[in-house]
Symmetry: D2
Subunit: 279 residues, 4 copies
């Protein structure tokens, strides 16, 4: 028995669920779980169906289903296999460390194809896990050259996602446009609060009682991409910037890894600047 | 346009969703939202469908749907109208107060038909809101008499649910059997921790760092009914029993009111000793 | 035995705790609890001391203590008695309802002297609790007149705090300056995110996965006063603006009431634009 | 300038803070932060003082302070240096992985002297970090022999704490008595709920809506030692045992690492079967 995950989004219409499930039934696919959501504001329909069956020929029923759905329908049929990712880092180890440990014990839901860092700080850690580390410095070169060097590493590796695990360089619109809906970032604040640099310093100066972190897809609008998940943590007046950063790291790590799990399990739709997440 | 909520549970089978949605489509019912869950362990299927349509004749399509589903299928078709409830209390005001305020502003999702207390403490509060209060003392009478008096008030009022809003008497199996899946309790602990009396004293003595509260349906096994929702709150060594009770009240109130909303919106299935909650 | 709470803040210095406790010992005051915090960034010292003693003559040891502390030291000696408050509201009932219920059962930590509303919506609710309600419309008059009318009600009542329980008018700098560190507001967002109007609409449009609420002291910088406490709650793609508002109300109510408790128990210092909260 | 942390607990008495701070002032020690708590139920006093000074001669002022405090007073004067720990594991990698990563980047607050496992599963991971791993099987030997072998490794290493990072063997009272207040365990449930084996299976069968994890000191009463910290996480009907375990691992890891930080920063007092934690 094989397993498939089917993701469909299209404009909403009467009878969509019936049409979809009829096609599945005809092909003797058994629905294991089904999530469905209608965005009534934008009149869009989303469904995630996990199913099992013998001799799954994705291609054949995809055509059949497309014929029954509204013209602009998007269907993704995903066979169960590990996603492949590249991880981009700068100096901070906490997110990368967690990714590498899970990767080794095969609980990440993806395979780390490589780590790319704009410094050498995390080379040793990466090598301890037997993963290739590429040091691409951003110094003494323009952004385009820097990003070209990154692309030359990533592209042959055939990755599904690029994970910015505390990568502190802003990517150009051109780079982002090359990997649409494929770049996932962890932002060290509860967006949209404290957009930009030094969010923990901003949080300290404002005297907030809660800090947060946000995992999101990267778009050309910095810090404005579709949010996948957010967590918060309580702080108090005894927290200086240093303590906020310490607490923030725990939150960042937890949020990023939860977001990665959701994405790698194909539970996240992007719709405009938002996500639909079937947990 | 009328609104219906349809709740179905039955043994799992191939094509259930198709069969169900076909019947809906035939009757020109438009699905507004649909939740579906298969308990693969017990091989049971649950769905909650909110739909709209003209001239809904529940009776007709219920028969039709039953014919297509496994024999033991349970179908509930619920027209949109306020639930009616009786609230049972003892001395503590916090849950009742919140219920009465929401009832008055029509955000409870139900209409409070009456409040019954085994003391007179909460009579004045109830009367301030123009709601009937019945003082049924448990003193100097046996439990059966006490409960008969309660039943004689409740039964003519035709209530959908009985809410135990810090009602501190244990109901007899006979009483519970009369109102199956209709009695909702707030238990002042994070069940199954601290079952029984004085949970905050138990929590204090154990030195826990988190306390909780649990809203659940009442069954004959005291504190063992299906859990609807639970919340927790942090405490520390500075909390004595009194402070735990104070914090606990906040948690109890929030949990009970969330559970009531979920139940009154027909989002909760009971399956064995568990609930399926479609949030 | 009487109870006193002593709040001291001054520039930090060596031996402050010793000096303070010596004065207390000399006057046979027994320390029940003591919180102390040094803001090392601004070199300021804060302490909250709860103590008991016979025949407390606050005046005498206040002078003695001032002589031993840095010149700019601020000392507040607070005898245990209920604070008095005025509550300002507009249309939403949820915070006011909770305040009135607690006020009646004497668990608010303060006595509600009156409720002032710029509409009549909440008059009936307030009267049900036997509390005076003043309807001061903001319509067809300038802000100064409107605020003068409010002041004329508040001032004779000798209140300690003015609680803005979803009061949707912006107060003038003149009004705020009249009640420095005495006005507490609940803001319906996780400040500094979504400053300004319609924060839940903003949150919906941004697609956040967590919303929040913030209780803060009011200063002339709108939404920028010292934060007392914040809470957050998870939301997801199924939440429209309406559901965010519904969830937000739960959060607002919980946050405001927690902040009020902390303030009424004299646990909150204001220092610049931040608070020190001794929980 | 050197840094000292001073931990004092004794029976409560009038003027303790004054006496203590006078001794510190006499030795020109500057208080950086001071936490103080009186357990009024048991009439015990606890304080944690972080201070700085030149030429700290701990021995001299410890004697002086003891003379001024109640006879049974316990004073610990701790110079700032990394704690040393041994980590005991069985098969699960998630807590150990996090400990090893932090250890390498010197953010653990302690130095891992060795890892001991009753299987070989985690040997490779440990060796990747250059840390000694000792495989001590519990098979085909009695518990005393097994524990003797562990002790022979631990004792020469002069460790401050033994961390049970998902070590699934129950330690004998003799072993525990050898390392009083030195063994820290992560229990995979929200104690006291689900004591014993398979807590996630118990949680699944009970249908709880929240699961948790508990870090505690180990005493002879299994699962009954003083609790240091607890976290909880929401689950729902879609969580089978496997998903609860997956979520539980996130919680276990976060709780254990928080507890370790608190212990390694000397913020935790044990008092009877409870802890006082100065965060």
């Amino acid at each position: 028995m094989n397993e498939l995950t089917i993701l469909i989004q299209c404009s909403d219409d009467v009878g969509l669920v019936t049409k979809i499930t009829q096609v599945l039934a005809k092909h003797s696919l058994n629905i294991v779980s089904m999530n469905e959501y209608v965005d009534t504001f934008n009149k869009r329909f989303f469904t995630r169906i996990a199913c099992t069956g013998n001799d799954l020929k994705a291609a054949s029923f995809k055509v059949e289903m497309l014929q029954k759905l509204p013209k602009e329908a998007s269907i993704r049929i995903i066979e169960k296999q590990l996603k492949r990712i590249a991880v981009l880092v700068t100096k901070e180890y906490h997110c990368l460390g967690d990714i590498l440990v899970r990767n080794q014990f095969e609980t990440l839901g993806a395979k780390v194809a490589c780590v790319i860092g704009n410094y050498e700080y995390l080379k040793e850690l990466t090598h301890q896990f037997g993963i290739p580390y590429f040091h691409i410095s951003h110094l003494e070169k323009d952004k385009q050259t820097f990003e070209n060097e990154i692309q030359q590493i990533i592209d042959p590796l055939n990755v599904d996602f690029i994970v910015l695990a505390k990568f502190m360089r802003i990517l150009s619109p051109e780079f982002v446009a090359t990997y649409v809906q494929k770049i996932i970032n962890i932002h060290h604040s509860f967006l949209p609060a404290f957009i930009g640099a030094n969010p923990y310093k901003q949080a300290f100066e404002r005297g907030v009682k809660i800090i947060g972190a946000t995992a999101h897809f990267v778009t050309n609008n910095l810090d404005e991409g579709p949010i996948i998940t957010q967590h918060t943590a309580s702080v108090d007046h005894t927290y200086g910037v240093k303590e906020m950063i310490r607490q923030g790291r725990e939150t960042e790590k937890a949020v990023l890894l939860e977001a990665l799990r959701l994405v790698f399990e194909d539970r996240v739709f992007i719709s405009g600047n938002k996500t639909i997440v079937f947990k």
